[in-house]
């Protein structure tokens, strides 16, 4: 996997680079800000871009804006956004895209899981932090379509949203693959999502939509 890293803090940038190298990947470029990020991505055509939300000069949402631009120009390049804390406002429109991930920065310490998420994103899958998923599926607003789900179905939904495959979900919940499939079928039905190959992303679309409608009061 060829990786581009955009992170303003030198130590962290180097640490992340080493992390990927240790994991057998190649870091083709690392940058301290978002200025030349798109150009670098265009030049290197990496499999994955790792980008911090807060980058110079204002340290607000430079990273997210760069991520959006990259996904627009190169939809096939995986983008993994790292953040210090949970924020849904900036990223909610990116959530349903193929090859997009959003994780809290300290997830990198769980090296195996982090690299798995990164690879998933590089391959067009998704990876959402469980805290962000919790936010997206949390009750809010007047009508809550998620309210009809059983507790188990909700667990499955959250893991789907995190980007796990049915098999991974089954492992995580200590269930059989068949049971997970049944839950998935039921929850898709309840959320009015037609069954298909790309159930995960549809789930994300629904969550993003819910979140967006909440924002509009």
């Amino acid at each position: 996997m060829r990786v581009v890293i955009a992170e303003d803090q030198v130590l962290l940038r180097e640490g992340l680079g080493r992390l990927f190298v240790d994991g057998g990947h190649e870091v083709v470029a690392s940058l301290g800000d978002a200025d030349r990020l798109v150009a670098t991505v265009t030049g290197h055509r990496p499999d994955l871009v790792l980008v911090d939300v807060r980058l110079p000069p204002t340290f607000t949402d430079e990273g997210v804006r760069a991520a959006k631009e990259i996904k627009e120009i190169h939809p096939d390049v995986g983008v993994l956004v790292l953040s210090q804390h949970v924020e849904t406002t900036h990223v909610v429109s990116l959530v349903p895209l193929a090859g997009f991930g959003y994780l809290l920065k300290d997830r990198v310490l769980e090296v195996g899981e982090f690299l798995a998420s990164a690879e998933r994103v590089a391959q067009g899958g998704s990876a959402l932090d469980r805290q962000i998923v919790a936010r997206l599926v949390s009750p809010g607003g007047g009508s809550d379509p998620l309210g009809e789900l059983t507790e188990r179905e909700r667990d499955v939904l959250e893991l789907m949203a995190e980007g796990l495959t049915n098999a991974a979900i089954a492992r995580r919940l200590y269930l059989s693959a068949r049971t997970v499939e049944t839950h998935v079928r039921h929850l898709l039905m309840k959320l009015d999502i037609p069954e298909g190959e790309d159930g995960h992303r549809r789930v994300l679309a629904v969550l993003a939509h819910l979140s967006a409608t909440q924002s509009q009061y």
């Binding site: 130590l11 804390h85 406002t89 990198v108 924002s215 009061y217």
Partner: protein
Amino acid sequence: MKGLQLKAIPVTLFGLTLAITVAAVALSLGLEPLYDTLLYALLGLTLGAAGAVVASQHPRNRIGWMFLGLAILNVLADLAQGWGLRAAEQGWPGGAAGDWIQTWSWMPTGLGWVLIFLLFPDGRLISRRWRFVPWCAALALVLGVPGRSLSPDRDPEFASGSNPLAVEALPTDALMAVGMTLHLVAALGAVVALVVRLRRSHGVERQQLKWFALAATIAVVVLSLSFALWDHSALIRVLAALSLTSLPIAACVAILRYRLYDIDVVISRTLVYGALTVALAAAFGATTLVLGAALGSGSAWTTAAATLVVATAFRPLRARLQDAVDRRFNRARHAALERIAGFLEDLRAGRAAPERIEELLRDILADPRLELRFFLPESEVYVDANGRAATDPPGDGRERTAIGRAGAPLAMVIHGPAGEGGPEGLPQVVEAAGLAIEIARLRVDLRRHLDEVKASRARLVAAGDEERRRIERDLHDGAQQRLVSIGLALRHAQHELNGASPSAGHALEGAVAEIAVAIEELRELARGVRPAQLDAGLAPALRELAGRAPLRVEVAATAERFPHGVEAAAYFVASEGLTNAIKHARASRVVLRAAPGDGRLVVSVADDGVGGARASDGSGLAGLSDRVIAQGGALSIESDPGTGTRLTAELPCGW
């Protein structure tokens, strides 16, 4: 230099008057009643003094010079009279000349009075049409003086018993008749001119004319009475001289504008006490008459009873007369003072706001441009009713009248010029309204202080918010990142070990786990300081808050953005309300709302718990209230037992 010379002339003329007076008094002393000598000397000196003062202060005003001239004419006549008397007594020569001057000297004096009546207060005629009056008076003098002084009829007025200048051939009677008629016409014209002036005048000139007209009226009344009573009472002769003396004094007060506005009080007092004297005398007379018939005249009881009647009637009668006089002669002022009294009554009863005094003054004084400026003793500035520092550049055509209370400046009235339909009776009205103005001033002062306190509190909260934001940034971007870096370094070390030392690998694993816990703790800490989500807006921040709650929280929040301080206050209201619901209310469901409306942001936290929460229960709610008030908002709690709790904050977002 020129000014000094100009000032020297009136003083010199007065000195001359004084010298002649001394001579005249010395000559006359003992040869006529003492009061005659002294009172006419006093008249001359008063005329001279008034003339000298006015002429030196306002040399361009002819009135002062005319008084000086009149003074000299008067004392010269006195001197002539004294000479005549003394010469006759001592057998000096030339006594007849004094007697002769005495026969006609009152005529030029009369002309002087006519001119003063005609030209007061500015020394100019009302219009050219009135020029006939001085001509008339001058002709009267030209015809009257020979008509009188050359007449054989004057013989009794000479010590010798005959007029040495009598000319039998002259038609002196006819000259005298025409002269006197012209003199009367001129005098009448002068009086009419004064009345016309008085009616047309306003402002300062009106006050000036009132002074002079009052003295003139008294003089006319007393002089008329004196014609009838001259031979019967010495008192009336004294009064006649005194009433004439009062004219230059009144004129002097009027022209120098010293206590000009007191004239209304003086007129009112004169009328009241004049009427009071007449009424009480009548009451005394009537009582004496009635009781005298019953008890026999001369009884001590009668006098005692009459005195008692007068004493008892004095106070109520005076009050009634004062009221009647005010009503009749000062209707506008009377009404104005009554309105102010009514306003003060309303003020006392709490029916009126003291700030309305400005509006009331504007209304009463019929001056729409009138404004009040209150003096703040602490900062020593004048401010308007809203507490803003007054910037009224001078030269806007308005006048400024300072109002004091107990010797300290209280306020300033800015009003139209008094001369042109401006406020008449301003001093009395303002004095009556003093209490209301003082209260309004205190309230303005208080409001200003409160505004300052509010502003500084808002600044403190804003500074606190900014500090929280900085700390939150430092935690997220500093400490937290650094921990992640260290964690990554440890992971790298672990990788490098590659299972070579399982115990070291274990230790590293433990250290990384510790670091992960520390990061999570830092994140929680930063969120408590200030949720980073607030940067994205109130709605995301509230949803984040709801998402972390261990119970069902519905969020209905506007996506609109507000000033930082308002959003922060709203967030902390929601946060504190939610915390209370979780900790104390035993609620199962909470609704967070944030809705804009009417220039405000209304935030509410409603739960379905046990209720019964009070602001004093926890310092959390009290601190919250401070924060909301600092934003100019209000916090309310509805929490009856059993009906859940609803915490509502209304935050103005216009600033």
